[in-house]
């Protein structure tokens, strides 16, 4: 059990495809591993279909929550910043975990692009937003978290994901109703690596990265990689996993916002802080009838949508 937390240049591949488990595992490793300077831990993982929003984003802006629920696509908020992404088994997640001093996004991304370009004959390049592009298409988005003793940079790599589902899942009809200071996503056209070279698969990519990782780190011990079943560490990661799964974290960590609807040509503004409707400006009759004040926004969301729809049909 203890050896999972040893430091040094290592690769871990998660056997789980549950986004909450994997995010919890990532955080558990980050907080508990004895990070050694000038070494890196590479964590490779992928998830069943899900949408992951950044730490300070607003899920109502980034996706259609009800729609995701109906399609059984998980929705998670991660601990790192950045924008929203769609994951499925064709999307590889890569985490580079180091001491805070050794944190360096550019180096990580340059390693990926040169490794993948060489092996698969592609022309990936790193942008100044720390994305990876192939021609005009985005294949990688980055996010990071910096703590006192450690830092991690994680990024995705579109290998052969369902891009249609990706586009459908990252749509929201609510954007125009919401005003906030939450971090906004910067949408891009996307592409799978396999669209340019159909011999590229998830398995091949993992193999390539594991092999190349040790070279990159001048590490002689090239067998320092393990497949890890997070279930075996359930006790250790369950607190993080429960937090990530909770409605509280998903909805109450959203930065303050104002949700505006129209009722009988009048504007009604709902002020939401920590997920709770703290004040409403507008038609008083509505406030009384619906009893929205003080309620959790995401719980009364359907009622709010009905008010808006009713006003439109009148």
């Amino acid at each position: 059990m203890q050896s999972i937390l040893r430091g040094g240049n290592r690769v871990l591949i998660s056997r789980s495809t549950n986004v909450y488990t994997n995010l919890a595992l990532e955080r558990y490793l980050a907080e508990n591993i004895k990070h050694q300077p000038k070494t890196r831990l590479l964590l490779l993982w992928r998830n069943k279909p899900c949408v992951v929003i950044g730490r300070y984003q607003n899920p109502f802006i980034e996706c259609d929550i009800k729609d995701l629920g109906e399609k059984q696509i998980d929705l998670a908020r991660r601990y790192s910043g950045g924008g929203t992404c769609y994951h499925d088994l064709g999307n590889l997640n890569i985490t580079v975990l180091t001491t805070r001093e050794d944190y360096n996004r550019k180096k990580n991304l340059q390693w990926i692009t040169s490794t993948v370009n060489k092996a698969f004959n592609l022309t990936l390049y790193v942008t100044d937003r720390d994305d990876i592009f192939l021609d005009a298409y985005k294949v990688t988005g980055s996010a990071s978290r910096l703590e006192r003793l450690y830092a991690y940079h994680h990024f995705t790599l579109l290998i052969n994901a369902d891009l249609n589902e990706l586009r459908r899942s990252l749509k929201s009809n609510d954007r125009r109703h919401i005003t906030s200071k939450a971090t906004s996503s910067v949408p891009s056209s996307v592409l799978n690596l396999s669209d340019r070279n159909n011999s590229i698969t998830y398995e091949k990519t993992i193999e390539l990265l594991i092999k190349n990782f040790f070279e990159w780190n001048n590490e002689k011990n090239t067998s320092n990689y393990d497949y890890i079943d997070p279930l075996l560490y359930y006790e250790q990661i369950k607190n993080f996993e429960n937090e990530l799964k909770s409605e509280k974290f998903l909805h109450q960590a959203t930065p303050p916002f104002v949700y505006t609807i129209e009722y009988k040509k009048q504007k009604i503004e709902m002020f939401v802080t920590n997920g709770i409707i703290t004040s409403i400006k507008g038609d008083d009759i509505i406030i009384e009838k619906q009893n929205l004040l003080g309620k959790l926004f995401h719980v009364v969301y359907d009622n709010i949508k009905k008010i808006n729809t009713n006003s439109l049909s009148k």
């Binding site: 300070y56 360096n104 996004r105 996010a143 990071s144 910096l146 200071k181 930065p255």
Partner: protein, 162 residues
């Protein structure tokens, strides 16, 4: 001078002195820095300090887009997180340079998070805290002054960029 004009004169001087006191009452001392690039600065000669991040830190972070600030009254120890900043590059924690009790947060950061980038030492201050007398006198020993911080930055120039 006549008695009444003397009285008026006295009043005028009093008034003038009070005004002067207000103008010069906020005296900011020199800044001290941590290895994690936070700065701390005494306000007046009381036990209150202002805390922010250095120009080096804001540059490494990139444009700050969101600040998560603590509640006033929170007691924190040295090295504990007092704020979390999201920039276009990362979510990063800021760590207390000293033990302290948060007395004020910079409300402007709620709508203008990038003040941290534009003015890291003035308008982009993050929190104010009440500290203990013993730590106040010890800042020179446990933290770096302006000169030492400059040296520290020089020495670590070749360290990992962000």
């Amino acid at each position: 001078m006549s008695a009444s004009s003397l009285l008026l004169f006295r009043h005028a001087i009093k008034f003038h002195s009070i005004r002067q006191f207000h103008i010069t009452s906020r005296v900011f001392q020199q800044r001290y820095y941590t290895k994690k690039h936070e700065w701390v600065q005494m306000i007046d000669n009381k036990n209150e300090v202002r805390i922010g991040i250095s120009d080096f830190a804001q540059n490494a972070l990139g444009d700050v887009v969101y600040c998560e600030l603590p509640s006033v009254g929170t007691k924190l120890n040295r090295d504990e997180t007092f704020a979390t900043l999201e920039s276009v590059k990362a979510v990063a924690d800021c760590f207390m340079p000293l033990d302290g009790k948060i007395s004020k947060v910079n409300e402007n950061l709620k709508t203008q998070a990038d003040l941290i980038n534009k003015s890291p030492y003035k308008d982009g201050w993050i929190v104010q805290a009440i500290i203990e007398e013993k730590n106040k006198n010890n800042m020179e020993n446990i933290l770096m002054n302006e000169e030492k911080y400059k040296e520290y930055l020089e020495k670590n120039k070749n360290a990992a960029d962000h």
